[in-house]
């Protein structure tokens, strides 16, 4: 039988399968519109000139604003904000309070789609973050028998089927959502009926008809990114991400909290041209040698990745550190880019000098001043 005949053979599949797979989008064969090319290119040129004019005029404005804002320096006097330093507030949840299966199944092995060898799997690590159903896309591939590869925990011994799902806007090579199916009812049923010869079919039907109710984010920690742009792109940071406060560390040991970080601005400054900012080979060495001195730390959230209050940190000597993929990544962004992002935050966001106090959670600057007066300490000094 040749391939043409086999192709004809495939022509006999059920109508429902044919209509199900009918291409939905119109595929139009376009020939190049030479007729309009000249007009289009002229319009494009005009836009280019306008854009260049805009860029140059903005540069003038930026330069002007920078020179006008020379008052925003290390010595700037910021409003004070009292921060409670009670260590009990930093207590982590005990493992004994863990109630969900993902907190026990901290690792899950998914079959490596680039190999058909049964033994080759990619390890995904639980972020211990639950994710809402509306952030989850299609189910991926087949279900997974957890028993095969992951230690079973007594409490969840019957949660031995995992289903994996796409996370909206995120490659499944990077991260997936995992839901567990409680097979207890099925095992109870087959205990009563030992003679069931169609066990595999019944098990398959049970799995197909049951959906997980909770979903958890698992990340492939070995996923490779090589540039800052790739990191931003793969995590869909522009759409998915949000920023909390940014913390600026002065040379004099003060911490200034800045609020109101503009997501688009951070993307424009750091990520949009990030193809040229490459990953440092050995981030641990850089950290251990003290070559990364954190100057600015931006709190970053990517809910679809279970990423909450992670860091994008900048050093003045031109490095960007981040742990948004649950591991240390350091990119070489250069001193100029580092200065750009630091200046943006300092010049455009509202800053508060953090004053740490034991067991006092007041955030009112007036109260802080009262306390200073009572204690006789003058903390209104500016500068280093």
């Amino acid at each position: 039988m040749n391939e043409l005949n086999f192709a004809r053979l495939l022509g006999g599949i059920d109508d429902s399968l044919i209509t199900e797979a009918a291409p939905k989008k119109k595929i139009v064969v376009k020939t190049f519109p030479w007729k309009y090319a000249a007009i289009a290119s002229s319009i494009a040129l005009v836009f280019c000139f306008l854009a260049m004019a805009l860029v140059f005029s903005r540069k003038d404005v930026d330069t002007a604003s920078e020179s006008a804002d020379t008052s925003v320096t290390e010595e700037t006097d910021y409003e004070k904000k009292i921060v409670k330093t009670d260590s009990s507030s930093d207590a982590l949840d005990s493992e004994t309070t863990a109630q969900k299966p993902n907190e026990f199944y901290t690792e899950i092995f998914l079959r490596n789609k680039y190999s058909f060898e049964q033994s080759l799997y990619t390890k995904y690590i639980s972020t211990h973050k639950e994710i809402k159903k509306d952030l989850i896309g299609k189910e991926i591939g087949e279900y997974h028998d957890i028993n095969e590869l992951t230690m079973r925990y007594e409490k969840y011994k019957n949660y031995d089927i995992a289903k994996t799902y796409i996370l909206q806007g995120i490659s499944s090579d990077l991260a997936v959502a995992v839901g567990f199916i409680d097979m207890s009812d099925f095992y109870r049923k087959i205990e009563k009926n030992n003679d069931n010869l169609n066990l595999n079919v019944e098990r398959w039907n049970y799995i197909q008809s049951h959906k997980p109710t909770d979903f958890y984010v698992y990340i492939n920690e070995d996923y490779k990114v090589s540039t800052l742009y790739q990191l931003g792109f793969e995590t869909n940071l522009k759409e998915n991400g949000s920023y909390g406060s940014a913390y600026y560390y002065t040379d004099g040991g003060k911490t200034i909290e800045f609020q109101g970080i503009d997501k688009q601005k951070v993307w424009d400054i750091l990520f949009s041209n990030g193809e040229k900012y490459t990953l440092v080979d050995d981030p641990d060495k850089l950290l251990l040698n003290g070559n990364f001195k954190q100057k600015l730390d931006i709190s970053t959230n990517i809910p679809v990745l279970g990423c909450e209050n992670k860091s994008i940190s900048i050093s003045e000597n031109g490095y960007l550190f981040t742990n948004i993929l649950n591991k240390a990544l350091i990119f070489n962004i250069g001193e100029e880019k580092a200065k750009n992002i630091i200046d943006y935050v300092k010049n455009n966001c509202k800053g508060y000098e953090l004053v740490y106090r034991e067991g006092d959670n007041s955030q009112n600057a007036e109260n802080a001043n009262e306390q200073k007066e009572r204690s006789g300490t003058d903390e209104s000094k500016t500068g280093e």
Binding site: M1, L4, R8, G12, D15, E20, P23
Partner: protein, 184 residues
Amino acid sequence: MDDEKIIELFFKRSQEAINETREKYDTYCRVISTNILSDKQDSEECLNDAYLKLWNSVPPEKPKSLKAYLGCIVRNLSLDRLEKNRAQKRGGGQTEAVFEELAGFIGTSNIQISETLAIREAINSFLKELDKESRIIFVQRYWYFCSIKEIAVQMEITESKVKMRLSRTKEKLRKHLQKEGFDI
């Protein structure tokens, strides 16, 4: 106009039947034909032949799905034309790439034409058990002859994922057919 009304027009032998069918399914048919043939003129001829064949076969045929029925006609006519073109050494659209993939799949199998009905049933049952995404990708590639890129766009996944899915599905199909007793 819905399919039932169009089929009614065929049964009444009204010319409107063809006009309505064209209006509803012309683009769909063109996609199938150009994916197989790539030559516009060949595709146009196949489409015209397909509408004629449809007119001549309905009635007595009363297809449950007009779309699938017409799609099959177009596909078969396009494959016939392709066979003729190949004999004359004229190229096809996506077909050469698809045939290369299928050649690797069927190898030197000894399936006889008499077994085709049984194999079709086996393929149908296999496809119904597949997950929806894999099934759609498989049918789009080997029934509709869509390019890998088109499938990736349709399914909103990368081209490499499409290729991997196809490869896995073919392997599973091979095992399924072997289990059913066919020498693949």
